[in-house]
């Protein structure tokens, strides 16, 4: 049937095989990127020879020299250059220099998770030794044993930690860290781009607390951040740390020539929009690469996909002369020793293909590879490039292939190959001023140091800060006395604050088979995700929810291998609380503000993996929940409603019902478009069709943030609502399906309404005026 690449044919052989007619129809785009020569620069003045020698380098790339110069000048700097461009040196060298200059200087390096940075603990220790600096380097995270913690407090000059440990381990006990904090000269925030959304909003407040405590100890460190290429690294760093940052973003590191293919599986049924399996196509692509002699890394979205791909790729390569064992999986859940073996196998070249989850994306050193396959779009431009960057690190040509799935995000990328190639990567959004989050951290801050009369916290002014302190005094948590608010309660406020959720207490998820807690779901989305009979995805594995205990806030689950996933059926009542902004686009009012959402999960749908076919429904009996969140809502004007009514959409269908169906379809595509534009997970935004008593048409499409108080997504979406609407219209136009499919407006409902046409008609109301 199809032409496969010849064994040992190399990259040229791949280009040849993939331009054969039978395969070329699956290739939506081929993007060639030229290589780049290195750009070196002399070490900045003021940098002693010891630090360079310690780092073990003779010369610096231009971006490294620039970043080091800024840092040693006492200014904050964020380095946002591609994978493997030597970002770590940009903070390692300034730290060595600072610690070498002053024997009391200390530094703290913050990584988003504890696993990251572990390699660096040893590396930086060795660098300090070579530089002749006496500096104890210690890791301080949840896994650090008690004795080692005491030692770290007493002796460490370089501390590797994470936001959770600063929040729970260091700040509430800052007096025990007094000499370390007093000497603090540099704070490193690595993997800056990871701090978007709720986690970043929390971390920003942890940093506010840290800076408050540092003021007490008289330290003013320089802030050094390192980020994947996102659109707004300097903005994001300054929002996170509350400090101005200089940006270094142009890499002086060399890179080889690179070709990126974007592919989609063949369309099986144009009417329903159904396509072949992207996993099969990804396996075909990977086996071609392996057969051509290229060492290949495949990224898949879930553990399950990893296991399936390993099987498929092995089956394919087995047909030739290649041993199936050279193909391996790599994912969370593998034991560390096995992981190390696989990493070594990659470095040594014995392994020819590794299929991995994002577990391999960050900070794991595996050397450079010839080819990368992305089985499914990873959700953001930034992380797509992060993964593609794993291939052809510095020298020689490389190839990458993105195999798109049927999701709207993937289809959008396939339809707009230029999006991936030329769009600046996404913005990292976080909202340090989410008041729900701020309030919790102010309790922690009051525990750490008394609030002085007139003190401000973050962007809260003195009056707002006083309002909160008076509230805490009323609750008996602080006591106002002598012009200060002093913590007096027998309570440890940090214990109630997790850095990864907002609002109501989270639910724990426990595996009933092994009787072990495997995860947590934030209170706001728990009922949607953990109702009985729901398929709950945890670390890429599907679990069936067997029991939900509302009182104990606990769900008991069991691992299953279903053919479907579930989608909750939710009845929501929306009440606008505050309209912050409103613009009229054609005959639609687009508002941004805060809404109260009262929702009740009434049932669920079972949807088949891959094809998104509806396999049936179920009912659940759960209580109503209420929350306030920020939202964008789109409401037709009276005139708009008339236009809809006048178009006589479909015989026998009420204009209002037709509008509602169209809004539902529009919500489906808009949530995905918004996720692309805002660099968030599609689940961070929830589309709901509801009443809007204040609008002329009385009905609106709400797109609200899933988290109470939000992280600023709705705000930013409103800023670009016109462009988002244009994207949505374009996506509907390009989708080959007839009346709605999972890749665009969602599958056609049984009402008989043409969802796609209805959604398009609504969009026309918004965008037609300028075209």
């Amino acid at each position: 049937m199809e032409q496969e690449a010849r064994e040992g044919a190399g990259i040229e052989g791949i280009h040849e095989a993939w331009s054969e007619a039978s395969f070329a129809r699956l290739v939506r785009a081929r993007i060639d990127m030229p290589g780049r020569d290195p750009l070196v620069a002399p070490p900045p003045g003021g940098l002693g020879p010891a630090a360079l020698a310690g780092a073990g380098v003779q010369a610096l790339f231009a971006h490294q020299a620039e970043a080091i110069r800024i840092a040693l000048g006492g200014r904050n700097v964020v380095v946002a250059t591609p994978t493997a461009s030597g970002k770590s040196l940009c903070y390692q060298i300034p730290i060595l220099e600072m610690l070498g200059r002053s024997p009391s200087a200390t530094a703290i390096l913050v990584f988003p998770t504890k696993a990251l940075g572990r390699d660096q603990v040893r590396e930086l220790g060795a660098m300090a030794d070579r530089a002749g600096i006496r500096a104890e380097v210690a890791a301080y995270d949840g896994d650090t044993p008690q004795d080692a913690r005491r030692l770290a407090r007493a002796r460490a000059r370089i501390l590797f930690t994470n936001p959770d440990m600063i929040h729970m381990g260091i700040l509430p006990h800052h007096t025990m860290w007094a000499s370390f904090l007093a000497g603090l000269s540099a704070v490193v925030i690595d993997e800056l781009h990871e701090y978007r959304g709720v986690f970043g909003s929390h971390f920003a407040n942890v940093i506010r607390r840290l800076k408050r405590v540092l003021r007490f100890h008289g330290a003013r460190p320089v802030w050094l951040a390192s980020s994947a290429t996102i659109r707004n690294p300097a903005d994001m760093a300054s929002t996170l740390a509350g400090e101005p940052f200089s940006l270094v973003s142009s890499s002086g590191a060399p890179s080889g020539r690179r070709t990126l293919y974007i592919m989609t599986p063949p369309l099986v049924d144009p009417a329903s929009g159904m396509r072949g399996s992207y996993l099969h196509l990804a396996a075909r692509v990977a086996s071609d690469l392996v057969r051509a002699g290229l060492q290949t890394l495949v990224f898949a979205g879930s553990r399950r996909a990893v296991e399936m791909l390993v099987r498929y790729v092995r089956d394919r390569v087995r047909r030739g002369s290649i041993e199936p064992e050279v193909v391996q999986g790599y994912r969370g859940g593998y034991l560390p020793a096995l992981r190390r073996r696989i990493e070594d196998g990659l470095k040594g070249g014995q392994l020819r293909c590794v299929v991995a989850t994002s577990a391999l994306e960050l900070g794991v050193d595996i050397g450079s590879l010839d080819a990368v396959v992305l089985a499914g779009y990873p959700g953001s431009v930034a992380s797509a490039w992060q993964r593609i960057g794993r291939a052809g690190r510095r020298l020689g040509p490389s190839v990458a292939a993105l195999v798109c799935s049927a999701s709207p995000l993937d289809q959008f990328v396939a339809d707009h190959p230029e999006y991936l190639a030329s769009t600046p990567p996404e913005r990292g959004l976080l909202n340090p001023d989410n008041l729900d989050i701020v309030l919790e951290h102010m309790k922690c801050a009051a525990f750490e140091l008394p609030f002085e009369e007139g003190e401000c916290f973050g962007s809260l002014d003195a009056a707002e800060t006083r309002e909160i302190m008076d509230h805490l005094a009323g609750r008996g948590l602080v006591h106002a006395s002598g012009g200060r608010y002093v913590w007096v309660a027998d309570e440890f406020p940090g214990a109630g604050v997790g850095l990864r959720s907002i609002g109501p207490e989270p639910f724990v998820v426990s595996d009933g088979v092994i009787s072990q807690v495997i995860g947590e779901v934030d209170g706001a989305s728990a009922l949607r995700m953990l109702h009985e009979e729901a398929i709950y995805q945890h670390a890429g594995l599907p679990y069936l929810v067997e029991k939900l205990d509302l009182g104990a806030r606990r769900a008991v689950v069991r691992e299953v291998e279903p053919e479907y996933y579930t989608e909750p059926v939710v009845a929501s009542t929306m009440t606008p609380m505050e309209v912050e902004r409103s613009v009229r686009l054609g005959q639609i009012d687009a508002r941004f503000g805060e809404v109260r959402i009262i929702e009740k999960v009434t049932g669920f749908r079972k949807i088949r993996f891959g094809t998104h076919e509806n396999l049936g429904t179920g009912e659940v009996d759960l209580p109503e929940t209420s929350m306030e969140a920020f939202a964008v809502w789109l409401a037709p004007t009276a005139e708009g409603m008339e236009v809809i009514a006048a178009t006589e959409p479909e015989p026998g269908i009420d204009a209002r019902a037709w509008t509602a169906e169209g809004m539902s379809g529009l919500g489906h595509i808009m949530a995905h478009i918004a996720a692309i534009r805002l660099m968030c997970d599609p689940h961070d935004l929830v589309p709901v069709v509801g009443l809007d008593p204040e609008s002329e048409g009385g009905i609106a499409l709400y797109i609200h943030e899933a988290q109470p108080g939000g992280v600023g997504l709705a705000d930013k979406l409103h800023d670009q609502i016109e462009d988002a609407a244009a994207d949505a219209l374009d996506a509907l136009r390009r989708c080959p399906c007839r009346s709605g499919c999972p890749s665009c407006a969602g599958p056609a409902a049984r009402t008989g309404v043409d969802r796609k046409a209805a959604a398009r008609a609504l969009l026309m109301l918004m965008v037609s005026h300028d075209g």
């Binding site: 140091l449 008996g476 913590w487 027998d490 912050e580 805060e594």
Partner: protein, 440 residues
């Protein structure tokens, strides 16, 4: 977001901010099924019960005690004991008491604590650094706090200090009557401690001292807290009395060692709440009870130190549990001779457990000295009390095989030692002994 809408939003959030889980100032009937509240209520009931027992008893000689049960109206407020005095860093609330020679605490004499010598402190603390420990230069220290967490948000609002002076025992209590007077209290504490103080505490290494260090740092002050020596009686109590009284909380030690039953004492768990109530209402409330509680803590430490000294010094055999414990402490401290004396004393106990443990220990010591025949005879005594004692059989097997060269006896014991050395090793040993028995 506009300023007004943010303020409105802030107020909405504050309205729904959940109440802290901390106990309510008063137990309200009809509270929900809240476990914590239930616990507090039952505690209160317990206090009430104890308090009424106390009130009924005539002629109590302690400070005025005031107990309020649920729903009971506060009578005429009992004033906080003590007075405002001038300290090095400002005015503060202080109360002093002095106990004269002969004063009893439970059945123990308070002044006995003065008898604990440096060597004894080093022994019971297993800390050579305490050899220079001197009770005349030491201060007993105990603090009451706003919570049990060791974080920066925990305030030591009452600092109790005690020392032996002029033939008596003095207790000085320094009280943070207003939060802003905390530096004055810490200043007065530093003054009372003097330079290079030695400290005696009960669990102070893990709690009182770290809390005070944190408070000093926060008030930008510094002090030497036990750098010259710190005897933590909790650890010593566990070493000496765990065998006899199990959990060595101050409470249990008082009951078992001092014969002291606290009457109408305020439970430690309620202390943070009492102080918070005092801050909020400005009226003394049950603060006088907290003073009393703290006073008893300090005095108990002095009396416990006395009991420890008596135990260590005693020439005659006291409680056999304690003698065995002390012997083990002596061994760990390297006092072999003393340990042997104590074990020998306990070997004459009426309890076979004591006899077995002591004879076994003595046998090990004898064997280490090379007195194998003596060791064997001691082990035989162990077997008299417990014929199946596998470890004793094992040692006898070894002694008879290697030292006394009595292979048949060795084999006899080896056959009964399996439990102590495991099947494999035991089988090997028996096989070897059999070979030696039948060999040349």
């Amino acid at each position: 977001m506009t300023d007004e809408s943010r303020l409105r939003r802030l107020r909405r959030i504050l309205e729904r901010d959940p109440e802290p889980a901390a106990p309510e100032p008063a137990g309200r009937p009809g509270d929900g099924p809240d476990l914590l509240h239930d616990r507090i209520r039952s505690l209160r009931a317990e206090i009430e019960r104890v308090a009424s027992r106390t009130r009924d008893r005539p002629g109590r000689r302690e400070d005025a005690l005031r107990m309020l049960g649920p729903g009971e109206e506060a009578g005429p407020a009992v004033p906080i004991p003590g007075e405002m005095v001038r300290g090095p860093l400002g005015d503060l609330w202080m109360r002093e008491r002095r106990y004269e020679p002969g004063a009893l605490h439970g059945t123990a004499e308070i002044m006995a604590g003065l008898g604990l010598a440096g060597e004894e402190a080093a022994l019971i603390a297993l800390d050579e650094g305490l050899r220079s420990f001197d009770m005349r230069r030491s201060t007993f220290l105990d603090v009451e706090t706003t919570g049990l967490s060791l974080g920066t948000g925990t305030i030591a609002f009452l600092v109790g200090l005690g020392w032996f002076a002029d033939g008596g025992f003095c207790v000085r209590q320094l009280f943070v009557d207003r939060i802003e007077n905390e530096p004055a209290v810490l200043g007065a504490m530093i003054e009372a401690l003097g330079p290079r103080p030695m400290l005696v505490t009960f669990n102070g290494k893990s709690f009182d001292v770290p809390v005070l260090r944190s408070r000093l740092t926060l008030c930008r002050m510094d002090a030497d807290l036990g750098g010259a020596g710190h005897l933590d009686l909790l650890h010593a109590s566990r070493r000496l009395w765990k065998r006899r009284i199990g959990d060595c909380s101050l409470d249990s030690c008082e009951r078992a060692v001092l014969g002291l039953e606290r009457e109408g004492d305020v439970p430690g768990e309620l202390i943070p709440e009492i102080f918070l109530e005092y801050l909020q209402t400005g009226s003394p409330g049950r603060i006088p009870d907290v003073f009393h509680h703290n006073l008893l803590d300090v005095v108990s430490m002095a009396a416990l130190a006395g009991r420890m000294s008596e135990l260590v010094q005693s020439r005659s055999c006291g409680d056999m549990d304690d003698v065995v414990s002390l012997a083990h402490v002596r061994l760990r401290h390297g006092e072999r001779e003393g340990a042997e004396k104590d074990f020998a004393c306990a070997a004459g106990s009426t309890s076979s457990d004591h006899r077995i443990e002591s004879n076994l220990a003595l046998a090990i010591l004898a064997r280490r000295r090379g007195e194998h025949a003596l060791a064997a005879s001691l082990l035989v005594r162990v077997l008299e009390d417990d014929p199946d004692h596998a470890a004793a059989h094992l040692m006898l097997a070894k002694i008879h095989e290697h030292n006394l060269k009595d292979i048949p006896r060795a084999l006899e014991h080896a056959r009964l030692a399996e439990e102590a050395e495991g099947v494999e090793a035991s089988t090997r040993r028996i096989a070897r002994l059999n070979r030696r028995l039948s060999g040349p």
